[in-house]
């Protein structure tokens, strides 16, 4: 009974974390892109609320502040608009598949959060709690599997759009995602070789130690090449940054979700932003020690240490979300042949070489 209760609490927490990080990224993207392009960004909704009563007027000041910051516009007005907008289904498209596509695109990303640890294990009221929903031993592979299942959402979306732009966008997206999954998998294998485990929790625990007693044994220290490859492959996997060919506005209107409107359209965006957050979480867990603070040893199994660890992890996650958004709004788009060359002729051979070198070093040392 208690196990079930704990599980439900964990599911609600992780679900809210995934959705919350996704919406946070939406806001960061809107305001961040405005900052980078020297605009103001979303600042209308709720910014002009005034009351005749001076007391209420003072109390409304935080609301006005949030309005100026675009928080109300992004978190409340846009979803409301999405819900009330007409849900348009193109003629000749299968209604079922048209509705299925955004769900298939979002659901695997949410599921991938289930296997990732969010804090160190701790004791609470005599129970030992793992802060993750599904502690399976092949956690890293599960994330990869969910990433490849999310491809179907995009493939179906492009197909049911009944539109050349949609189909071209989805073909580009599918080709890009399956190409960049290979170097990503190779980096994961190299990490598995280094830390000797498939379990993400144990990989993070392995990074808590110090190398030669000085440098923290983080993934970035052990696998610097792997980090660069994963950063590039992950940005291609999220179809963003310089790799946003599947939704290139100037060429394909909106790519695979051209024929989507209302909440289905927003679901695709939510999936994309949740994927950014998932990828940031992966980078923080695999390469930046997760909840590790360098040269600081926190007591194990204490609730406040777990809470502090969670906050440290989330700070790292937000940092990587911001990094991805800054890259996306700074660099120009690749050409398609450049994208494929980068994936197959550069990243894949380098990642395989990296794996071989890592394996040899692991056996020799």
């Amino acid at each position: 009974m208690v196990e079930l209760f704990v599980l439900i609490v964990k599911v609600i927490f992780v679900m809210n974390l995934a959705l919350g990080l996704g919406s946070l990224c939406t806001w960061l993207e809107r305001k961040g892109s405005a900052l980078i392009q020297d605009r103001v960004g979303a600042n209308r909704a709720g910014a002009f609320i005034v009351s005749a009563n001076p007391v209420i007027n003072v109390l409304l000041a935080p609301v006005r502040m949030m309005g100026w910051l675009g928080v109300i516009g992004t978190f409340m007005c846009d979803p409301m608009k999405g819900i009330w907008k007409e849900d348009f289904i193109p003629e000749g498209a299968s209604k079922f598949l048209h509705g299925l596509a955004p769900i298939v695109a979002v659901l695997p990303i949410m599921l991938a959060f289930a296997v990732l640890p969010l804090a160190p294990d701790f004791y609470a009221w005599g129970y030992y709690i793992h802060p993750r929903v599904a502690p399976i031993d092949a956690g890293l592979l599960f994330v990869l599997a969910m990433g490849s299942v999310a491809v179907y959402g995009i493939a179906i979306a492009g197909w049911t759009g009944n539109n050349t732009f949609s189909l071209l966008g989805s073909l580009r997206a599918v080709a890009q995602m399956i190409s960049y999954e290979l170097p990503m998998g190779m980096v994961f294998v190299a990490l598995i070789v280094v830390y000797g485990t498939l379990d993400v929790y144990n990989i993070v625990e392995g990074q808590q130690e110090l190398l030669w007693g000085v440098i923290p044994k983080w993934g970035i220290v052990m696998q610097p090449v792997g980090f660069v490859i994963l950063l590039l492959a992950g940005m291609a996997e999220t179809k963003r940054g310089p790799f946003d060919l599947p939704e290139a506005e100037s060429e394909l209107t909106a790519g695979y979700f051209t024929e989507y409107s209302g909440m289905k359209f927003l679901l695709f965006w939510l999936g994309e932003f949740a994927e950014i957050a998932l990828f940031a979480l992966l980078l923080a867990l695999l390469f930046f020690g997760g909840w590790d603070i360098p040269w600081v040893t926190l007591p194990k199994g204490v609730w406040w240490a777990a809470l502090l660890g969670h906050m440290v992890l989330m700070a790292k996650v937000v940092f990587f979300c911001v990094l991805q958004i800054v890259i996306r709004w700074t660099l120009p788009r690749f050409r398609y042949d450049q994208l494929m060359n980068l994936g197959w002729k550069m990243l894949l051979p380098i990642s395989i070489a990296n794996l071989v070198v890592t394996a040899v070093a692991k056996v020799m040392l």
């Binding site: 399976i136 031993d137 092949a138 592979l141 599960f142 990869l144 599997a145 969910m146 990433g147 490849s148 299942v149 491809v151 179907y152 493939a155 492009g158 197909w159 189909l167 989805s170 073909l171 599918v174 080709a175 399956i178 999954e181 498939l198």
Partner: protein, 181 residues
């Protein structure tokens, strides 16, 4: 556990039938994906997480994406009804019966364990199924494992050869202008 197992089995059988019955090739492909995911669910319900995840990564995640890709690019319409000769039908039926007869005896021999959807004790040891599979694969089944990788290599080489022959047919066939472009 066995309730989930039966539900997933029903889904797997229904989607497997769908692969054969649906006339639209894309719908058939989607049925196959559902079938593979149901099989992965069965593995996961039995506690073989690694096998389940590998099933999703390899079959649902890579192979079926490529199949779907090809189907979408070819833009196939509904399959037209084709009539097969009596010889072909006989061969097909015989192959089906033979296959069925090969599969049924081992299933019946282990029916009592299979019907509860549980794995034997030494497969769900606390060691973790990844380690168990690894030691089996690189220990007892080393030769078979290497042979299957050889088969895959032959497949890759064959695909490259087929692709090469096609381009040389398109280009000029006499050797004089072979390397001009």
């Amino acid at each position: 556990m066995s309730f989930i197992g039966f539900v997933l089995s029903a889904v797997a059988v229904a989607s497997a039938l769908g692969v054969v019955i649906f006339r639209n090739p894309l719908t058939s492909a989607f049925s196959l994906i559902i079938n593979l995911l149901a099989m992965a669910g069965l593995y996961a319900a039995m506690g073989a997480h690694f096998l389940a995840v590998t099933q999703v990564v390899v079959y649902a995640g890579a192979i079926m994406v490529l199949v779907l890709f090809v189907l979408m690019l070819l833009n196939l319409k509904f399959e037209s009804k084709r009539r097969f000769g009596i010889f072909r039908t006989a061969v097909a039926v015989a192959a089906g019966v033979l296959m069925f007869a090969t599969i049924v005896p081992p299933i019946m021999a282990h029916f009592d364990t299979l019907s509860t959807f549980t794995l034997s004790e030494n497969m769900t040891k606390s060691e973790g199924s990844v380690k168990a599979i690894g030691t089996e694969l690189y220990g007892r089944y080393m030769v078979q494992f290497e042979l299957s990788s050889l088969v895959l290599l032959i497949g890759v080489v064959g695909a490259v050869m087929l692709a090469k022959r096609k381009t040389s047919q398109i280009g000029p066939r006499d050797g004089a202008a072979g390397g001009a472009q």
